[in-house]
């Protein structure tokens, strides 16, 4: 129901609004007052606010022409994701502390801004964005300082530290569109939110009854942004253990239905090597591939150049690049 105001639709004039208000009707519901006028108003309002059915063939054509697949820069992750992040979808990275979620977000941002020459919007809620690490990754890809600076300029950072700022930021994107919000070179191809759980977990649970609704508002906004602007949305989340000690993504059952693809990141517990940068990624939820696929990858792969990556004779690297 919406508040009635003059000019909302052709049949709704000032006198009609005043008359309705006198009858104590401030919002649009049914009465038998000037039946024809109300019927006309209803037709117009319905036409303005309904969704239209689309045929499957049109939808498929639309998808083929507008969806892009963005590589993450890491061949093992690309294999898990069925060649990369799809635009129009929400992908989630879940993992414990130090499992590499932020590093994967950096890698994706650098790959899109340098390799694909497109803009990236990075919403940072943990203070974990380190521009010097982004520069390090870019320096491994190219020695040209101008190219590095250009790539850095294509990454727009929005620091938000609480749920209301996050909602305000996402509404801002939706209202003014991502192009104006980013004002960088190239069109925006990805929105990265690191991390969603940091702003939502303080309001979930206990005697607060608004937490769930705010969480679902964030979910709705992210999905709308992904669909309307044709961008890939990547979010990060924490993990918890369920009754059997199995890892699962945080923020509860309701949130678990929101992302289309979910990847769980874990450290490898190997005796003897403590400071290793190898991580395992498990596909926990996907609409395109069988679940529970596992891949190992090295967090340092984004910080190394192509020759170093494929020239390495380490056993781990050979296993990953073997043809399947």
């Amino acid at each position: 129901m919406v508040v009635l105001r003059d000019g909302m639709c052709p049949g709704l004039s000032e006198e009609l609004v005043v008359a309705l208000r006198a009858a104590d009707i401030t919002t649009g519901t049914w009465t038998n007052f000037a039946f024809q006028a109300l019927l006309a108003i209803r037709r117009v309002l319905l036409a303005q606010h309904t969704a239209f059915p689309v045929s499957g063939a049109d939808l498929y054509e639309d998808l083929l022409s507008s969806t892009a697949i963005l590589s993450t820069g890491n061949p093992s992750l690309d294999k898990l994701l069925d060649s990369g992040l799809y635009t129009g979808e929400l992908t989630e990275l879940a993992g414990g502390p130090g499992s590499g979620k932020t590093q994967v977000c950096f890698g994706v941002a650098v790959n899109i801004s340098y390799q694909l020459k497109q803009s990236v919007i990075y919403v940072d809620s943990t203070g974990g964005l380190s521009a010097s690490r982004l520069l390090q990754m870019l320096q491994a890809k190219s020695c040209n300082i101008e190219e590095q600076m250009e790539a850095l300029q294509r990454i727009q950072v929005f620091p938000v530290f609480d749920i209301f700022s996050l909602l305000g930021c996402l509404h801002h994107f939706r209202c003014v569109g991502l192009q104006q919000a980013s004002a960088g070179g190239g069109s925006v191809k990805a929105v990265i939110v690191d991390s969603v759980s940091a702003v939502i977990s303080p309001i979930l649970g206990g005697k607060q009854n608004e937490g769930m609704s705010m969480m679902m508002q964030v979910a709705g906004l992210l999905k709308t942004i992904a669909k309307d602007f044709n961008v890939a949305v990547l979010v990060t989340n924490t993990v918890t253990r369920d009754g059997n000690g199995q890892l699962k993504a945080g923020m509860g059952q309701t949130w678990s239905h929101v992302p289309r693809i979910r990847i769980l990141l874990q450290r490898l517990e190997r005796p003897g090597s403590t400071c290793s940068s190898v991580r395992t990624a498990t596909l926990a939820k996907s609409s395109r591939q069988p679940c529970h696929l596992k891949e190992e990858f090295d967090l340092q792969c984004w910080g190394r150049s192509e020759e170093q990556l494929y020239g390495m004779s380490g056993k781990r690297k050979l296993e990953n690049t073997e043809p399947s």
């Binding site: 129901m1 919406v2 508040v3 401030t26 414990g96 502390p97 130090g98 932020t102 590093q103 990075y122 809620s125 943990t126 203070g127 964005l129 380190s130 521009a131 010097s132 690490r133 982004l134 390090q136 600076m149 850095l152 300029q153 990454i155 727009q156 950072v157 929005f158 620091p159 938000v160 530290f161 609480d162 209301f164 700022s165 909602l167 305000g168 930021c169 509404h171 801002h172 939706r174 209202c175 960088g184 940091a198 702003v199 977990s201 303080p202 979930l204 649970g205 206990g206 009854n209 608004e210 508002q217 924490t238 918890t240 005796p271 003897g272 403590t274 400071c275 290793s276 940068s277 340092q300």
Partner: protein, 364 residues
């Protein structure tokens, strides 16, 4: 586009009344005066004024967009902010120059490994004048355990002043040295004593005002966060919520006021599939709170610092020692033996080290 009324920072009871009166989105509230709104929605005039301020029609979304910057600008800002040295060169190298300003760092460790010593050292080091490579800032020390000893701070301050005195070469440095004495160091160190978690939370709410009044503060130390939250807390999920909210406020303050925030945490034993491990306390979700995590642990009789989580540095383990003058590098002859010596436990395992009589006497 219309933004839902429920997504604004308004009190829940007021939101319910607004929704019942039919105001679903910001556009509905645009043209109303406070008197009209309070009559329509049956709320008081003050509440109506607050609602209209929160929902003001030139989007408050501009506020969110105003904080934005490109990664290039962020790079320049990071390089300007600098780092706080710890006087242990191996640790400084592992951290990329020292403790980063504008981020939160968590220091975890078993009792007696040197967390408080590191905190006091950093409170002194942040005051090193800019011409010596320091930040020339003040520090705020929030003490919850009562482990801050002024005599120890005096020892560390004297050692730092002597160290800078040896380094001073040109006239600018000599001039700066006159302003860098034990008295000035102690007067630029603000100390707050909190006795329970309520006082600690209240202090973090007041921190924003304090930092606005003292813009020279570059370091905030909370030693320790675990102490007040670990006992007397029946509702663990409430503890998690409070801690997460606290972490967000701290990182917001670190970013907005350009301070380094150091938090100290204790260790707890986790029993899991038949093994026991020492892990940082306060739960797994707290692990995400700090931007960087440093774990201090023992290896035989040697102290090691491991960088466990960092957005920009590789993981590394470095040795250090605590001397009469404070936190320093471990002497090279005392390096821990290699892992094929069976008598030494691997540096990776954080199992509890039995305390011997010798260690008790060598603790400073």
């Amino acid at each position: 586009m219309q933004r839902d009324v429920s997504s604004y920072a308004i009190a829940p009871s007021v939101k319910v009344k607004l929704l019942n009166a039919g105001f679903l989105s910001a556009a509905d509230l645009c043209d109303l005066r406070p008197l009209q709104l309070s009559k329509e929605a049956c709320i008081s005039q003050e509440e109506a004024v607050e609602v209209l301020q929160a929902v003001r029609c030139e989007p408050g979304q501009e506020r969110a967009a105003a904080g934005r910057l490109t990664a290039l600008e962020l790079l320049g800002r990071e390089q300007e902010l600098g780092t706080i040295v710890t006087f242990c060169s191996a640790l400084d190298m592992a951290l990329g120059g020292g403790m980063p300003v504008g981020k939160t760092t968590e220091v975890c460790g078993a009792p007696g490994v040197g967390k408080t010593q590191l905190c006091i050292q950093l409170s002194v080091d942040v005051q090193i004048p800019a011409c010596f490579g320091g930040l020339g800032g003040k520090s705020l020390y929030i003490d919850t355990e009562g482990s801050f000893l002024v005599q120890r701070a005096v020892d560390l301050a004297q050692a730092a002043v002597e160290h800078c005195g040896l380094l001073a070469e040109d006239s600018e440095q000599q001039e700066a040295l006159k302003g860098f004495t034990v008295e000035t160091i102690l007067s630029n160190l603000f100390l707050v004593r909190c006795h329970d978690y309520v006082e600690l939370l209240a202090e973090t709410y007041l921190l924003a005002d304090f930092l606005a009044q003292h813009p020279g503060v570059r370091l905030v130390v909370i030693d320790s966060i675990a102490f007040s939250f670990r006992h007397d807390f029946e509702d663990l999920s409430q503890r998690t919520r409070l801690l997460n909210g606290l972490a967000q406020r701290l990182i917001q303050m670190a970013t907005n006021h350009n301070v380094a925030v150091i938090l100290t945490n204790q260790m707890t034993t986790k029993i899991w599939s038949g093994q026991s491990k020492l892990v940082p306390a306060l739960g797994e979700s707290w692990g995400h709170a700090a931007t960087q995590r440093l774990i201090l642990h023992w290896d035989g009789t040697h102290r090691l610092a491991s960088l466990y989580k960092s957005p920009s540095q590789r993981e590394a383990t470095v040795p250090y020692q605590i001397t009469g003058q404070g936190f320093r590098d471990a002497p090279p002859s005392d390096q821990p033996k290699t892992s094929d010596d069976p008598s030494v436990r691997q540096s990776g395992s954080l199992s509890k080290r039995p305390r011997t009589e010798e260690d008790q006497s060598t603790r400073t």
